[in-house]
């Protein structure tokens, strides 16, 4: 078996007294699409941000292409970052820059590409997510939420990343736009030949974009398996979550 694209081994992270990740083990194979599901505040974002190096885990190891990236910095970190692309929950577009510069940002700032060439690539990438050329010269604030998501997706794939992260890609979108974004995610990931790691609590989206699902609960991965087996997991936590029942083993902390 080839080296997994991403591997988390016993990753732990606490913020003050609050233990968020309590030994997460997860393997993402090359060119697969894994979705992490779990309730709000279960550490899904922290997991992704740990892989990205935005948050440093307290314990455990994170491997990307077999290389230990848990504690690297500087040039080594930059090199790993170039493998990544990310679509943020709120799109996180830079509102001081026009759409095309948002998409071309990683090419211009991260890789030192000439602005004119980067702009052409940005317009191509925008076309891939179904946006016309004239959108490129608008400001992000002039776009609807769905269009901002598309721009965020174009930005994530602009530098042809090997791994794309999706943070709640359908949150805040209407069901139709959510489905369109799901389709775009599936097609662009396939197109770029990338590995995808997503987090969501939208089961429709999870079923559509993944070939493997992992459920995070209590700081651990409590179940993982192929997407088609999610309905026969035999795990009461997974059952409760995918059917969205208030009754079950998962106790939501109503008080923060």
């Amino acid at each position: 078996m080839s080296t997994p694209k991403i591997q988390l081994i016993g990753v732990k992270k606490r913020f003050g007294p609050k233990v968020v990740l309590d030994g997460v083990d997860l393997t993402v194979e090359k060119q697969s699409s894994v979705v992490i599901i779990g309730g709000s505040g279960t550490g899904k974002s922290v997991t992704i941000k740990s892989i990205l190096g935005i948050i440093r885990p307290d314990e455990g190891t994170i491997l990307v292409d077999g290389e230990d990236v848990t504690h690297i910095n500087g040039a080594a970190r930059d090199k790993v970052m170039r493998k990544f692309g990310m679509l943020f929950q709120g799109s996180a577009l830079f509102d001081s820059l026009p759409v095309w510069e948002n998409v071309a940002f990683g090419l211009i700032q991260g890789r030192g590409m000439a602005r004119l060439k980067a702009r052409d690539i940005a317009i191509q990438k925008l076309a891939k997510v179904g946006l016309a050329e004239d959108v490129a010269f608008l400001s992000p604030a002039e776009l609807s939420g769905g269009m901002q998501k598309r721009v965020g997706l174009a930005r994530a794939i602009a530098a042809d990343p090997e791994i794309i992260f999706f943070d709640e890609p359908t949150t805040g979108l209407d069901p139709i736009m959510a489905d369109i974004i799901n389709d775009l995610i599936v097609s662009t990931v396939k197109d770029v030949g990338a590995t995808a790691l997503s987090i969501t609590h939208d089961m429709t989206s999870a079923r559509k974009i993944s070939d493997k699902i992992a459920m995070l609960y209590g700081g651990k991965i409590i179940w993982q398996g192929p997407t088609k087996e999610i309905d026969h997991s035999g795990n009461p936590y997974v059952e409760q979550f995918i059917h969205g029942r208030a009754e079950g083993p998962i106790k939501m902390a109503v008080k923060a």
């Binding site: 990205l52 935005i54 996180a92 890789r111 930005r155």
Partner: protein, 257 residues
Amino acid sequence: MNFFANIGRATLTVLAHIGRLAVFTGQALAGLVSPPIYTRLILGQMMRIGYYSLPVVGLTAFFTGGVLALQIYLGGNRFGAEAIVPQVVVLGITRELGPVIAGLMIAGRVAAAIAAEIGTMKVTEQIDALTTLATNPIKYLVVPRIVAAVISMPILTAIGDSIGVMGGYVVSVYSLDFNGTGYLKNTMDFAHREDITSGLIKAAVFGFIVALLGCYNGFNSKGGAQGVGNATTNAVVASSILILAADYVLTALLFHK
């Protein structure tokens, strides 16, 4: 017991802030000397921090110079020393009021704007997005603002000094019956170069303080709109206090005899 716990907690919070600010300053200084340097961003920030602050700095300097002339005239009048107005105005403005007034105006205008902008970028994950696009947020956001503020503030202050002296001149000549030529001659003869340069050095330091604290508070803002609001307030309050404290220390150092 609760009372002591509160003192302890407050002390720890202050120490943690000082520690974090020191680390942040270190990162910013490291970013200053290592490539890439974003010249385009520095020029853009100089426009925002320097050029757009000209009206407010000019206006406050003018009135400060004017009121200084009036007060010295009225005070000096008590012991027949009205004639000293031009000398005291030029010293007061160049050594002290020019840089301090400009610094406080910039603290209100620029530290607040920087903290609000970076704070919003923080809470909307734009700073994380920079990281994922292989761009160092310190170098991209903090360094250009600090460089621009350190360059702009002495220029702003030099302009403010001139306008402040002019404010004193206008009040003295048109309201207090001074002779215009004599006023200017006294001003020119009395002011030394170090009076002006000391003020400009202070201005550069104040620029550094304003940009650093604006960025630091922006980077450390948490939550949503309220967090950004707190960051903005903290940036203005902290930079104003630090400007006045630094002013004292710099005066003591620069005029150490």
